[in-house]
């Protein structure tokens, strides 16, 4: 479980880099390739998959796949910290439910 949780954290940084990358994007191929933030964002996604697969070797898919939703929790905090996006009431409800669901899955795993 811990490997997958760590993977979701890395994946959320990937999302931050992609978002930061799109804000500096011009519509031509050269800018798409030389944009280091987009590149590192994709790289972070690959890295998070490595942790996911590593954790999946011995874990149950029915428990570990829903854990991917934890990346929404991290991303909400980074969106506020790095891009000043508001944390609305809906988002707080959503985060609370996701965290509660992950706790239940932790109880349910074999």
């Amino acid at each position: 479980m811990l490997w997958v949780v760590f993977g979701s954290l890395i994946g959320s940084f990937g999302a931050v880099q992609l978002k930061a990358g799109t804000q500096r994007l011009e519509m031509n191929l050269r800018s798409l390739i030389t944009n280091w933030r987009l590149g590192s964002g994709v790289l972070l996604y690959v890295l998070s998959s490595v942790f996911f697969v590593f954790g999946l070797r011995r874990g149950e898919l029915s428990v570990l796949y829903p854990l991917v939703s934890l990346s929404y929790v991290w991303t909400t905090f980074w969106s506020r910290a790095f891009f000043g996006e508001a944390i609305t009431r809906n988002k707080i409800y959503a985060l609370g439910l996701i965290l509660a669901g992950v706790t239940l899955l932790g109880w349910g795993k074999q």
Partner: protein
């Protein structure tokens, strides 16, 4: 707050968007099956580096992540004419398919805590789709 202007879509286009999103959840579930199968092929004593190599060298892992590429394209098409707050919750249907297939294909146990956990997460993800609204 930045609002992006979107030209109005026809009802037919909206209907097709929902269909595309549902198709994407089926493909996501298939991808997860391949990835789980592939994770068992990288070896009992695999290191993180072996796992990284495995993403390219283990056919079922590579195929699983290639399907994720397909899903990304389909979701972009679905979002073109579908409303985000409607299309987004559909994505969490993939949690249901993966849970069912985990039991049928990998013979994983299902219990009350797991079913409740998945249901609660689906609700959370669905609400996330309306995140911008207060």
């Amino acid at each position: 707050m930045l609002l992006v202007r979107v030209p109005p879509s026809t009802p037919e286009q909206k209907r097709r968007s929902l269909l595309l999103a549902v198709v994407a959840t089926f493909i996501t579930a298939a991808a997860q099956m391949l990835i789980k199968t592939g994770s068992g092929r990288i070896g009992e004593h695999a290191t993180l580096f072996d796992t990284l190599l495995g993403l390219v060298t283990v056919p079922s892992l590579f195929a699983g992540y290639a399907l994720y590429g397909v899903v990304t394209v389909i979701m972009v098409l679905a979002l073109r004419h579908g409303e985000l707050s409607v299309v987004w919750p559909i994505i969490s249907l993939s949690f249901v398919w993966v849970a069912i297939l985990s039991v049928l294909v990998f013979h994983e146990a299902m219990n009350f805590a797991k079913v409740a956990g998945i249901a609660v997460i689906i609700t959370g993800v669905a609400i996330m789709g309306k995140g911008g609204q207060r």
